[in-house]
Symmetry: C2
Amino acid sequence: MNKERIYSWLGTRKNPAPSLDMILQPVSSDLRKVEKLLRTWSEATSPVIMHMAGQVISSHGKLIRPGLLLLLAGYLDYRGNKKLQTAATVEAVHMASLIHDDIIDGSPTRRGQKTAVRVFGPGFSLLLGDYFFIKSIKNSLAVSSQKIPLLLAEATEQMIEGEMEELAQSYNFDLTESQYLQIIRKKTAGLFEATCEIACTIGHAPPKEKSVMLAYGLNLGLTFQVVDDLLDLAGNPAETGKDRFSDLREGRVTLPIIVALKNCGSGMRNRLKTALEKVKLKPEEKNFSQLLRLLEESRTLELTYAQAEELAEKARKAALKLKPSVYRQSLIELVDFVLSRKK
Amino acid sequence: MNKERIYSWLGTRKNPAPSLDMILQPVSSDLRKVEKLLRTWSEATSPVIMHMAGQVISSHGKLIRPGLLLLLAGYLDYRGNKKLQTAATVEAVHMASLIHDDIIDGSPTRRGQKTAVRVFGPGFSLLLGDYFFIKSIKNSLAVSSQKIPLLLAEATEQMIEGEMEELAQSYNFDLTESQYLQIIRKKTAGLFEATCEIACTIGHAPPKEKSVMLAYGLNLGLTFQVVDDLLDLAGNPAETGKDRFSDLREGRVTLPIIVALKNCGSGMRNRLKTALEKVKLKPEEKNFSQLLRLLEESRTLELTYAQAEELAEKARKAALKLKPSVYRQSLIELVDFVLSRKK
């Protein structure tokens, strides 16, 4: 399967969504304040931290998690200032985990720029990740006495657990779909869910809306990860800002692989396993391409995308249980964005 | 300077102290409970974490920090249960930082055993360190609503800052004593001081006793680090449980180096700088030995030890301001232990 076909396949995905900027427009002024707040995090006493933290913060990401928190706070008509601090906190936890992930994976690029580990080396970036983890919990303690820091610490703990379990399953091509879902629930969806729970906490969501919002966050997070898996195989590095095949290179068995092995006949399964073993032994472009051809033959990308759509549908259905409002509209469109995103 | 002479020099240090077990005897039953509590931390939902955390916890260290917390709690006649949880928490932060330090340094051994990074690899041990950091804050939130988690997060933040500053000063042979002291205050003494402040918080120490205890913790921590620097040069690996010269190997400019460069004439300074550059370029046994000979010629170990003694004296004086009791006696002896420790 040549690159053009892969990229064009991604282009044919249903649900083209508005741009993220448009989706987050109802909270855009708050989101700018969150960015500003994050920049103050780099104003440490130490010049070395100021320099490094500043660089990482300025290469900011999509800000989906803080955006999500602000949309929910908007829906709940929360007018206080806790939303800005907590939104920054959630993003900082995410940043910390990316910095550490890039060390573990040895990733050269992220968001189209060199990763922290490439710029500062493993020692500094390890400590920088630690710094953001601790700083986020510390700052959340300034906002709330116990509930929010606890939610954040629990989500972070889950995230780390998920990553450890994933690492323990490296190159286990017998990983089941349910094991996979358990891992991505912990490593990715948990922080989305916690982001929603934090919004519910500061916004005093009624129990019924809270359970709807948690279901929304969980399924949005799961969708996010499955699409991430697809982008690693079929994304355009010029758009994703990171190298392809990093999952396979690190031995991460993602949903497309599981789907391919599950849905094919024994002949194809043998060919797939042979191709996977080749990739494991020699993670080279040639072997990746061969594997991709087999995945294409077995319609894996489409089948996996269908699963992402099912998860997205659950998130959408949850959002539709909320009262109509501009915020609800954005939540629905956010699902479409996550599903159709190219980066 | 041959090894035997170095070890025997260490043996001639003044203030031979009772064993740590004897010093911590007034709190020994609580300390066993803390160890037991720490073991429950490895009982995670995930088998991979249970296995790894369990192994790290079982290779337990000297437990000086939890011991210190329990001694102060004893002195303050605190009878509640918060002391056990918080003592475990402080030790877990310490453990997390050691796990990450060993990754940064690539240290092969610690406490006479293989380091986590050698046993589990860098990915797992990075995540394991994260896990202990987050778990400690999370558990402290279960004990206290805000004050103790905040003290712990602040001390951890300081520790990470100190380590980053130290890394930024690698191979800077012009590092001043005051820069050095600022670094070790953050990276080592801060957690000792925070341990004391946590004890003061749970034990409701009167302001005067609190300030005495903080001064004690700070100076005990500084002493601890200076002795650590000496042991890295002159300790017996069979006793310290870790390799010699790891500071120099990682470019850490420690107090003995600063003292040597400061107190010698220009001829010796040039010889020292040449020897240091050699060690930097080729961190080999031969070059370490040559540098050690020069340090011996300039009486560096003795001069550095004298500074450790001064810091220890400050800690001792602080302790003497407390009311006489078995706990105070142990605090005084703990200073002697830290000063004369061989591991």
